[in-house]
Symmetry: D2
Subunit: 465 residues, 4 copies
């Protein structure tokens, strides 16, 4: 890449996260000299793009650095010559997330917008769009890196590697970075005092911790402490149900916050159903926060990332993203936890699939640290989740209803049988606009009388959103 | 083995199935000349052993063949010189099955006595006993084959291969033999018209069907037909919930009857809860049938297998068992579906684990037919079930509560989280007498106030059964 | 396939083996009713095709069955409607085999026309032609089976599976069938007294033997006997150098006759160099035999397979071939040792590669019997040979000189370094006419001064053969 | 480990390399504060131990640091409380190396003292001793790291991991560190300008090189340059036969210097035979150098590592060793190429075997960087070498002649057949004193008339060395 300055293209640039990203880039400018930034969004997001784009420009203008922000609705205008393309798209916007969470709950099932029923629908909507972006990149910026934050981040990475034929792809997530900050704090220590090693799938990874002093495996001591403290590093957006202590001991590794939806399934479901009744699903709260945020962003006096953004969730996301770009650009050799091609690092999963794993970040991309074998239970969980990912991706790419059904049935947090089918059917119908590859099937489902039961979702659908 | 005559030792010989077995041996005597038969049972089953033993002797006396039935409560008396040791033990008798089914349902969860919560408890009770039998065999009849029908048959086989260090073990099940008879009948054909290939785990296998005429893959035509007919070969003891057609099409292979508990989870649960309310769980029905059967067996005039036994379930079980022994004894080279060491036949599972697979039956035991890879969903299901099996076996062997909890959490038909732990805890307490390796943990659970909630089970426990 | 009668197309029909094949078909006619037979050859083989075609017709005319033999130089005329296509081609005829054997020996290296230097050259010539045949079959007889006897049979099968996209392919070899007849004879027994299990690669397989009476592993007793007897089943065309007894004991399995070229490398090389000096390489002997054979074939009175053919080698080849076709046609379920897709049967080799393995022969083709893991040495040998196969196939398909060099260097019976390159170079130049994909490289080599040193080969080349 | 100061125990401390090691420790003292150093040797090496021990103490005395050197012939005296145990033993001293090199050459075969015939004999002598050291460490310093430089370093590491049950073991080699210095120098650059990734086995690894600026794969450009320059990083002790350019291009990775013995087998053999004739085998040269070195070491005025040591070979060995210890002690996270447990990093080799691989050096030891799959040829070479390693280790541990023979036959640089057996037999007899586990077999061989043919070796043997 051109060492005179980096060109960044952010697809989904109208996201409320963009100021985070700008702050991250400004902070790192001396190491990572940005030449230009392009924010790309779709027609539906044009207003937000304008608002956030203006704020972004004001942030740079207030910095010591001269960087131009370009706004466009046409990604093919933005891509030529890009060094890094970051994707933070949300096909169907937050209304789609409301569907992802409320429809399952209206069926008495968990939504879980990253690897549950909601996440699988998100994959159906997102994968085809990402693969189109990759096709454009092959043509317009064949040397660029694709840095994906769009969820489900691991599934998207798997799709890009398997169907996109594009190796230069990194999937990001802020869960590990949070854990590496919060867990040491449980002991009044910092990340430097420990060696962390992560392995698994996005939002479904495990880690072990060792002493940086003498290499001793401290995982069981960390497990002990997790049950003593208030803040164990679980993301703010996840209900803090405690794990079962005996189970974590049997694992000898620490699951991530999202594992709660699996290991504490019934308990999380009960909580989410309560949120559903109160119209406080995560999607609804975020939508409210976003509206407030964009009001704040409009303020022409504002030229820093506003305080309120931290409420939005996604802490350290921009740190993860900017540091990933920085590490690749400067061949830093730092260790980050990213979604990348397995290469054997997790020997229980296919050698060429996407995994989320502690990796050495270099100019040639992430090089995974080998983890080896898991115990039987963790192995089984990861294998079943990877199977679900493969099914939903195949469904997304081919518009294959049967594979979507297979994904819903095998997903451990979807209750199987006819209710799983009923759930899938209603979600497909509710997402008709964003699932062109399922067009015929959706018409058939509608003829069979599949309708939307949840009031909030029905209203969104009736508005054609 | 001694070609002058075969010595059979049947552990759990007091089972109501024994007359089936006798009939099977009598039918095959010309091929498989029996020298002597030993029926072994425990003190608790002595009365049944006497009843069924007398009937067995009457059956042989009415045959053209002179075979002596020996009864004993000491398996070490029976084992020396055995050629085949068959195990059909039920640790804790049918009362234990009642616990396995009723406790989960009292928690609103599925029991499923073969690979659900009930099956896992059965494994905890059964695995240590089978491993003790294997130790005795090593000493007393080191050339004998262990032919296991005790459920969970696949888990028991895995335990024997992994922890018993005993290769000459075959696990049996009557599900495949039934399918190979019933599915052709859907088309007015017989087994000879088709090539069946099975692969998977016990009570969790898949199969494909091909034309014996031209080798064409007929699996999708069989799937079509399954949705047209009344009797698709599902065992009589399983509620006949139809699968979802689109899912079977996406599989391109046919699941077994027990897959219903997984693919039709919610629907099966609803049905089982109804049976629970009516005190018509399978265990309760079987217990009633057994009482009637033993009344009939007592009739000194009876010297054939009575009609009523067929109601008991287990059709063709004795055919499977006697034919397996016959095939090994006579090196028949016939194809049977048995639990045996994988040897790579299912490349998605560990090369040395136990699988249930179409195998060529020879004097050196079953040789699995290679199946290769599954599609992603079937692969994932099998991998997660194998993981569950490994966890529950490790728990059984080591008395490890954490691993038992891991097994309960990963089992796809146990609803995860605290309810899974509560279920496990109550089941452990209810099985105290049969779980010596969990003694300390059970005392701890009792101190924590874990009690039995279901009336029927509580009564059984209070009687010390 | 049409049960009214089978259409056979034999490519390379002008081969001296064809009468063997005819005899095999006549013998099996009641089970395998032939409708018509097409013998196909190239222009260069037209005369032989006429001679052998006439004999074939006379053989059928002398039988009770009416079958017409069709002769053609255009395989596209023959293929439509074929049920079985057998390939016994020899690209470059026996002159090519002379090159395959004499050039290496003129370099002091082993030729070994199946998986040594000669075999690799044969693969370079043969693979592209077989893949063209497969393309024609896709178009003209998409339901037919390809039964390949052309050597290197395993490499050809691997190429068809990997690059041809054609599943209905079986590779045949007469080595296992010979062993299963000859080894029992060492003890005055027959094949029925034993259970044989084979696994490996073509001309590089191992087997174990068990008692059909009690399943006991008799492999070590067979190994003992091999060192006691004259005829241990080694093919007549292989110099009978004894293996080293201690090595076979350490294996606990029995290598095939061709393993001599590997395990007894130096000794075999010494012997072959002697044959080379005497102009008695196998190729030269066979060429002489063939000339004699065709003289005999010309005799219009002859209407049976002549005695002298047995000297040609390839005993039981036609039995293997005809029985393979018969087994598929009649779904016999018999066990044959064939080259087919691994499917995990040999867990040390890629799950989807071609292996030679005891398989159950059914209407849907061969189903491999699972073998599991090998000991470290056998595993290593098989892995290195499979690597060689993959390299030479890639070289053949792409005309890739570097990959051909990799194959020559990794082949354990080619002495590595510059001599391996010199050998490859000379062999390429000598085969110019049959290696169109290497045309440019061969011109370059000729410009670099690569010439043919062996007189016999140079003469052949100068004649343009 | 005790942060107040590190205790080092060097087994084989009488080696001429020890001054290198001392220099390395002195250079790093500020980072790696040494508390005490124990040099251990056997009775046969006592004189050297005294000489080198005195020099070592003088070197420390001349440094700003106060470190005591302890000398002992009893390793159990030295081990208690050790933090790092380094092993640089040479069982049988340089006389054994003379046997390892001269006997094969006297048979017209390559010696190759690391993974050829010589290396395999060295493994037979060394593995049992190392496993005894590990047993002592388990008892006396269970938290210590074993840092092995004894060749064959990879085989020793494999033995420790597989049979020793000791995880804290790192195998070292100076080949990669040399390449990372020399190869950049071909372009006038330094290591920092590139990303190197190594994977393979000890003395049998491959690497790729990427730009540190933009991550581009520069391997093919490096390959080009290798054929342009004099010094491509090949160790000084290896004859600089050029590789064949086309082969390296087909690999797309760079072999190590020792690969010459494989890829340039015939050429290297010719060269070594020349050295043999001139009595200039590496062993003989080294023995001479060593005698000179120890004369120099005796000089009481000497208190630095003498210049002449660099001629001995093993450049940067002490840098590798001391930096490895430093990295573990200080959790540096630097990348080193070491022998360690695979953990899936090379997906073509067993997940739990020892590999030599670029690893991140941490307080918990090396964490391998995942490499993924190799091309078919490299995969095959590595698999056959790993098979050889497993065979020779099993032979060493069990004293199993058959497995030793299997190792000799599969080793690609031993010419197979009876000559391989003759070579093994003579080498066993020549090493009688150091192979107690082969005692009976060696007596048998002697009775069969196996004798030593090479004069130099016979003389050594007659002296009982």
């Amino acid at each position: 890449m051109d060492k005179k300055g980096v060109k960044i293209v952010t697809i989904g640039g109208g996201s409320s996260y963009t100021p985070e990203l700008m702050e991250g880039f400004i902070k790192r400018y001396e190491q990572l000299p940005i030449r230009e930034i392009w924010l790309v969004d779709t027609a539906g997001g044009e207003e937000k793009l304008q608002i956030v784009g203006s704020l972004a420009q004001r942030m740079w203008d207030a910095s010591p650095y001269k960087v131009d922000i370009h706004l466009t609705l046409d990604r093919r205008e933005a891509l030529p010559g890009a060094d890094f393309v970051t994707t933070q798209i949300r096909v169907g916007l937050l209304n789609a997330r409301i569907k992802d969470e409320r429809i399952p709950l209206s069926h008495g099932q968990l939504g879980q917008e990253t690897n549950g029923a909601g996440g699988m629908l998100k994959a159906l909507r997102t994968v085809p769009v990402i693969l189109e972006i990759v096709e454009d990149m092959k043509e317009l910026c064949p040397d660029a890196w694709l840095i994906n934050f769009a969820n489900p981040s691991g599934i998207v990475t798997e799709a890009v590697l398997r169907y996109g034929g594009w190796e230069k792809c990194v999937g990001l997530c802020n869960v590990p970075i949070n854990l590496m900050i919060k867990e040491p704090a449980m002991f009044g220590k910092t990340e430097e005092d420990y060696i962390f090693q992560f392995a698994g799938l996005n939002h479904f990874h495990y880690h072990r911790v060792y002493s940086a002093k003498d290499g001793r495996n401290l995982t069981s001591e960390f497990i002990n402490q997790i049950f003593q403290v208030e803040d164990d590093g679980t993301p703010a957006n996840i209900h803090k149900e405690k794990f079962i202590e005996e189970q974590l001991r049997a694992m000898d590794c620490i699951p991530c916050g999202y594992h709660r939806y699996y290991y504490m399934y019934s308990d999380m479901l009960r909580h989410e159903l309560g949120q559903y009744e109160k119209h406080e699903t995560r999607a609804e709260l975020v939508k409210k926060t976003e509206t407030e945020l964009f009001e704040i962003y409009k303020n022409k006096e504002l030229h820093v990332k506003p305080e309120q953004l931290s409420k939005r969730g996604g802490t350290y996301y921009s740190d993860a993203a900017c540091e990933c770009i920085n590490s690749i650009y400067n061949n830093k050799g730092s260790i980050m936890v990213v979604s990348t091609r397995n290469q054997g690092a997790l020997s229980d999963l296919p050698v060429d699939c996407a995994v989320e794993v502690s990796s050495r970040m270099t100019a040639k991309g992430p090089v995974p640290l080998a983890w080896g074998k898991f115990g039987p239970a963790e192995r089984g969980w990861l294998q079943v989740m990877k199977a679900m990912e493969e099914c939903i991706i195949e469904a997304a790419v081919k518009g294959d209803y049967g594979m979507a059904l297979q994904a819903f049935q095998i997903n451990p947090i979807v209750c199987g049988g006819r209710p799983a089918k009923a759930l899938l059917d209603e979600m497909l119908v509710a997402n008709e606009k964003f699932l062109p590859r399922f067009h015929d099937k959706i018409q058939e489902l509608k003829r069979q009388g599949v309708t939307i039961k949840d009031d909030v979702v029905r209203e969104i659908c009736e508005k054609g959103l």
